[in-house]
């Protein structure tokens, strides 16, 4: 009878939350493509897409529709199973990360207190790292299965880039974790709500994390796996139709999620500065928090785009030199200094 004792409503609640979060991140990824084109246009003194609907807001729908109706081509010489698996993996890993992000404080609906987080696991950050490092398999498998020199080169580049920058990312996070003492994203946000945002304690850590996030998301100036000018779109060169769409989409979802993680870790998550949330009604606080988090995320997404349309791509040796010779020593130094300071204060 243990099965009947299970809280079925809890299951439904989580399922609804999963559906909402996944569809919201898909819609946001869709409109990121639009925002990317608009931001690029503004920075380059152009107008950008403005034909589909007012101000071109239906452009992502038109693009998506076009991708769906494109011919599906699987090259004869490719490994068919892996060729299909690649974009699936890329999409899967991109979506999985959003499970541990606390989107807001608790919401009270139908007499239940609902967590605005799919899973508050005590190793939240580790989970994110695990999933993100799996994301490179999407690139690797896609590039390898295409059986094409350019794609393979791009996949190799992508793999080595992600491995190099993950190190620095992890090291920069260790310093942060020494301060928070917890791996749970929820706890980290609640600590920031009570005190200062982590950016105040870890400015260098944030900078390192941000640069690594650019590299992890394969965004310019570290977009070497794609490098349209030298590798013909890189690892997804052989892809067409919605499989290509999945790759492009997963990149934008990654951007959204890493913005969410950055906002959560360093900028107080759903915390609104100079506002005591406990004085507000529970539901109002939850909605205000959600809006605050979304604004922070949109700022970071804009920052990603802003950087992309400002900086030229790094050369491969420059990328590796920055990763191994600058980022990792800086992250190590940051970690040691933080450790020393934490020890001194605790005494």
């Amino acid at each position: 009878m243990t099965l009947l004792a299970f809280d079925w409503i809890f299951l439904i609640e989580k399922l609804v939350l999963i559906v909402i979060i996944i569809s919201v991140s898909l819609v946001i990824a869709m409109y990121e493509t639009y925002a990317e084109r608009k931001v690029a246009a503004w920075i380059q003194d152009r107008v950008g897409p403005d034909r589909a609907g007012p101000w071109g807001i239906l452009q992502p729908l038109a693009d998506g529709g076009k991708l769906f109706f494109k011919e599906e081509i699987i090259p004869n010489s490719s490994n068919k199973f892996l060729f299909v698996l690649g974009p699936c993996l890329a999409m899967l890993t991109a979506m999985m990360t959003c499970a541990v992000v606390p989107w807001s404080s608790k919401l009270e609906l139908f007499g239940r207190s609902i967590d605005m987080q799919i899973a508050d696991i005590n190793i939240g950050i580790l989970y994110v790292f695990g999933v993100v490092s799996m994301g490179v398999y999407g690139i690797m498998i896609g590039g390898w299965a295409s059986n094409n020199k350019f794609s393979l080169m791009a996949a190799l580049r992508g793999a080595s880039q992600v491995i190099s920058y993950e190190l620095a990312m992890g090291l920069s996070l260790i310093a942060l974790l020494m301060l928070t003492g917890s791996l749970s994203l929820k706890t980290i946000v609640e600590q920031q709500q009570a005190g200062l945002w982590n950016i105040a304690y870890q400015p260098l850590g944030f900078l390192l994390f941000f640069v690594c996030a650019l590299a992890e998301c394969n965004r310019a100036p570290f977009d070497l796996p794609e490098a349209e000018s030298e590798l013909n779109m890189g690892y997804h060169q052989e892809y067409s139709s919605m499989k290509l769409g999945f790759y492009l989409f997963s990149e934008y979802i990654n951007m959204f999620i890493s913005s969410a993680i950055m906002a959560t870790l360093f900028f107080g998550g759903y915390d609104v500065p100079f506002l005591d949330e406990s004085k507000l009604a529970v539901n109002v606080a939850a909605i205000v928090g959600l809006v605050a988090l979304m604004l922070k995320i949109f700022f970071f997404i804009f920052l990603f785009m802003w950087v992309r349309w400002t900086l030229p791509r790094f050369r491969y040796d420059q990328l590796m030199r920055v990763g191994w010779k600058n980022m990792i020593p800086l992250a190590l130094a940051n970690m040691i200094i933080t450790a020393a300071v934490v020890l001194l204060i605790k005494k």
Partner: protein, 192 residues
């Protein structure tokens, strides 16, 4: 005369004359510590691109807005009529002779009695075709015409799906009748 040949890069740089006084020497100093941090340069670049967000784009949204043409713009041809609405063209063929692209074809016909209100002279063009794909819009036909019958307007050739659509006949070229359709006539005539 003796020509000077640079023997090395340094000499060639010295010998190179700058065309304007706006040339800036390239800073070739090795990067110092601050430069190697990249960050100051990155921030500078980002402030420049951010400034561009607020600039007004020079875009002209074409089908809705059109660029303003100069009054001497040479666009599509118009076959002119006189004040009474009679065709001015006498099919003399001077425009076809003048045309460097050989884009103009015409067939002449004689005016019948009773057609005096249609054609100004005793001879007129029964068929008058301009191939807009051949035409280079030089305006030599306009200069060649002794009767002021053809001139280039301010509109340009619209797109078409077939090559056939670019061969403009008399019904495409002829200006609306100023007596019966004064408004259309004024519009087609433009500023000239």
């Amino acid at each position: 005369m003796q020509t000077l040949i640079p023997h090395n890069a340094d000499e060639s740089r010295r010998m190179m004359q700058s065309l304007t006084n706006r040339a800036k020497p390239v800073d070739r100093r090795p990067m110092n510590f601050v430069d190697r941090l990249y960050l100051p340069a990155v921030l500078k670049g980002m402030s420049i691109t951010f400034g561009h967000i607020f600039k007004k784009p020079p875009t002209i949204k074409y089908p809705e807005q059109t660029r303003e043409f100069s009054p001497v713009f040479r666009g599509l041809h118009v076959l002119n009529r006189d004040e009474e609405g009679r065709e001015r063209c006498t099919a003399c063929g001077l425009c076809a002779v003048a045309c460097p692209a050989e884009a103009i074809t015409m067939e002449a016909a004689e005016r019948e009695p009773g057609e005096e209100n249609l054609y100004r002279e005793e001879k007129y063009a029964a068929r008058y075709e301009i191939n807009m794909l051949r035409c280079i819009f030089c305006g030599l036909c306009e200069e060649a015409c002794p009767k002021d019958a053809i001139y280039l307007s301010e509109t340009f050739a619209p797109s078409n799906f077939a090559r056939k659509g670019f061969i403009y006949g008399k019904k495409d070229l002829l200006i609306p009748n100023p007596v019966t359709q004064p408004e259309e006539y004024a519009k087609a005539k433009g500023k000239r």
